[in-house]
């Protein structure tokens, strides 16, 4: 896959289709791949990396990149493509300034899970059939890829790239039965006290590093309310229990209806807080109460939170449904 992508990237630069290519390069380690902009075929030869750790959602970077002169190519995985469409819906990405190469994806991996599987000292990764092959300082080790998949890939909602100029690999299908709401349901079935305890144990770990916000394609405001002293809720630190709750409730609310469930928030959280469970709660509620909606699946449909019908459920429905008392 990497070879095909690199070839395509170079080709696009060489034939002048684009002036820049948005891709991944190795960070400090082989597994912390970071988004990077390449301008020459040589740079691509040297630094461009695509592997099972290319989880980063490229769509958000297109906001800034498409503001610049010239055209930029981006490699977009299925889940990234939903954000790409959503951001176009919000007029944030200039589509005419980018060239989208859709790439088929069968899941990205989590280095934490590799380590949990007992593989230490890894220095490189490759794929063989459905296995991950890791070169380590203790020799070559193998593990099944499915054991190392990111949570969002285990419950992958769609393997379909919804907007692209060309595809590498075969485009996949949506998977409505991905079970991504199972965990939300499990929480809903708890008592309020249990849920409160669960979320305190999670959110109290928050260090307000803002990684979730900075990586989120929906959190691409010119100025975030939490950074704006005039908003009345600006706060830089998780100074109290309330702030922890407040930040994550407001953040989830602000992206409700626009969140495509790309799962980047949970992937980048250094404290491993399952933030996607907050977003998925909103998605699940909206699906159940207002009909199925997938942000970024098309260019037209209004998000449920910016829409209404005259016979919507009353807020008191919350007292009746979900969670026991």
């Amino acid at each position: 896959m990497q070879a095909v992508i690199k070839k395509k990237a170079k080709e696009l630069l060489e034939c002048g289709t684009v002036d820049r290519v948005l891709g991944w390069k190795a960070g400090e380690f082989f597994y912390d791949l970071t988004p990077a902009v390449f301008t020459t075929p040589e740079e691509i030869d040297k630094d461009f990396v695509f592997s099972v750790f290319s989880g980063a959602n490229m769509s958000k970077y297109l906001i800034e990149e498409t503001k610049k002169e010239g055209k930029v190519a981006a490699f977009i995985k299925p889940c990234d493509s939903y954000s790409l469409v959503q951001l176009q819906k919000e007029h944030r990405i200039k589509r005419e300034n980018c060239y989208i190469v859709g790439i088929a994806c069968d899941g990205m991996c989590d280095m934490g899970l590799v380590r949990e599987a007992g593989i230490k000292g890894a220095t490189a990764v490759s794929e063989k059939d459905d296995k991950l092959v890791l070169e380590t300082i203790y020799g070559e080790k193998e593990m099944p890829k499915e054991k190392a998949l990111l949570e969002r890939c285990v419950h992958c909602k769609s393997k379909k790239v919804v907007d692209f100029d060309e595809m590498i690999g075969e485009n996949g299908e949506e998977n409505p039965d991905c079970g991504r709401f199972d965990e939300v349901e499990r929480l809903e079935a708890m008592t309020p006290d249990e849920r409160f305890a669960f979320w305190r144990s999670q959110l109290s770990r928050c260090i307000r590093c803002n990684a979730c916000r900075n990586v989120c394609p929906a959190c691409s405001c010119e100025k975030c309310v939490f950074d704006n002293p005039d908003s009345g809720i600006a706060q830089k630190a998780a100074a109290s229990d309330f702030e922890e709750n407040n930040f994550h409730i407001i953040r989830a609310y602000h992206v409700a209806g626009r969140c495509t469930d790309c799962g980047e928030c949970s992937r980048v959280c250094p404290q491993n807080i399952p933030l996607h469970l907050l977003n998925r709660k909103f998605i699940k509620d909206m699906n159940e109460l207002y009909g199925f909606y997938q942000a970024g699946a098309d260019f037209e449909t209004k998000p449920p939170i910016m829409n209404y019908t005259t016979n919507d459920a009353e807020p008191s429905v919350v007292y009746q449904r979900g969670g026991s008392k």
Binding site: H91, C221, E222, N228, K302
Partner: protein, 664 residues
Amino acid sequence: MQRIGVFVCWCGSNIAATVDVQAVADALAKEPGVVFATNYQYMCSQTGQDMIQEKIKELGLTGVVICSCSPRMHEATFRRTCEKAGLNPYMVEIANIREQVSWVHKDKAVGTEKAIILGRAAIAKVQLNTPLIAGESPVTKRALVIGGGIAGIQTALDIADAGFPVDIVETKPTIGGKMAQLDKTFPTLDCAACILTPKMVDAGQNDNIRILSYSEVEEVKGFVGNFEVKIRRKARYVKEDLCTGCGLCMEKCPQKKVPNEFNMGLDNRTAIYIPFAQAVPKVATIDANYCLMLKNGKCGLCSRNCTAGAIDYKQQDEFIEEKYGAIVVATGFNPISLDKFDEFAYSKSPDVVSSLEFERLMNAAGPTGGTLLRPSDRTHPHTIVFVQCVGSRCDASAEKGKEYCSKICCMYTAKHAMLTREKYPDTEVYVFYIDVRTPGKSFDEFYRRAVEQYNVHYIKGMVGKVVPEGGKLKVQASDLLDNRQIHIDADMVVLAAAIEPDKSARPLATKLTASMDTNDFFTEAHPKLRPVESPTAGVFLSGTCQGPKDIPETVAQAGAAASKVIGLLVKDKLIGNPCVAKPNELMCNGCSSCEKVCPYGAITYEDKPFRGPNRTTLIRRVACVNPAVCQGCGACTVACPSGAMDLQGFSNRQIMAEVDAICK
């Protein structure tokens, strides 16, 4: 820091009996920013108002808090008071200590404490108030009426009578609309043409009315008082100013096989035509789809015979642009297509007709000259079956039909049945109904006459199927009251088709940013209290574009819409409510969230230059609120993810300051 004056009103004993007004004034005097606090028996009295004005001038107050009755009572009074003393009226806040304190709490200590807290909240809000100045915009003293049926004509006449110029845009070659096609009108049975055509002539001759027939609205820009509308004048290939309407061209035209839409396709007309004798403007129009000259370049008979030299085969669509202060929508209705109702054999037999077709068959100017004849063999029908509610009152999930009651069918069916029986007493008339709905002046009496005097057979039940067989229509129906199935060999079946808004309404609504319901009827600004206004300021609704209506209701609504338009046009300028939404462009993402929830279409987007890093200029899409259109509901402020949109007078910080003061 503001310099705030607090004025606590006793309201006689209304407040003072359960609130210690002195204690309230004393406590509030200690609040930050408060430079003066007092109490007085009646703040709204002249003496009270004088005191407020005096203190504003004496102490240079920048904000005023009045602890008194509900702001719904005297907010406007106190704002005017302060304005007269040179203080911006929006620097006044009211703490409601009568309706919310003294009248609902009996314990004086409790009441006093709550009054102090409400006072604090008002002070906290005033701290953040900014002077607001209401915007002004001029009013173009000209109205546009879209649609030239009875609704549009009546609205235009009323506006014109008040002295304002009006344009009627009508897509057909003549005004008149559906009413022109009707034979008689219920419940008085006046001839429709006799009461409509004088109005059409009035409209045509009124100096203040310009009729733009055979024209369509192409584009609408602007807002209340200042609309700019582009109108397409479709090429009719006849010079309107030269045509005398003599009709010679119609006699000469060799293409005589064009379905005549005025007669519902029941007969034919020529390619050059005047829809009916009393058309206004009485000008011929060439139907480009059928004209031999326009299609093949061979003919030219009409041009050769026109003594006025009015024919112009080279005419093109023209566009005119005009400014208007107000727009009235009067796009009307159409019967629904009956193609999907195959059980009634509408598409199989010419003798199954819609009610509007039946009107033409009964009309003296219709295809049969007013003699009721079956379309198939032009014989007199002896048994006629009327079916009501065809396509009305259907379930939303049913694939065909409309959910609503079309309102007019019960009455016109009674009319048809009655007229048939009167003219042709040898004809048996059956009406199959689900309910007979006759709420209206003299309506039920009319229906009862059909039953009692004219012996029309009203049968509770529906027709299940109609099968054409041997020149007859075999009607199978249920009689629910007799609990039996009945079979009738009918000569004609008349279907009371549901009515639906004209197809042009939906695209027009988009152009006007006016809202519609799921059935494509225009929504009114308030279902009870503002029934002739659209939520979009400056756009008014007349007639069936808003919902099913009969003629008296349509005319009443047309007049009401006209009076609203006149009320707008007499103003030289519009003074807005300054408590409107305002975006902070530096924070706006241009994401369109606000636009999606705005019920008034007040939000548009502009690409604006901003200073970027290193002396660069960035072009960004940002929201702009038109303060003349915004009504200040605040829906956008919550939809905005970045908090760029705020509502003046009820800003995020003001409301949070109130929350803080209350929860302290």
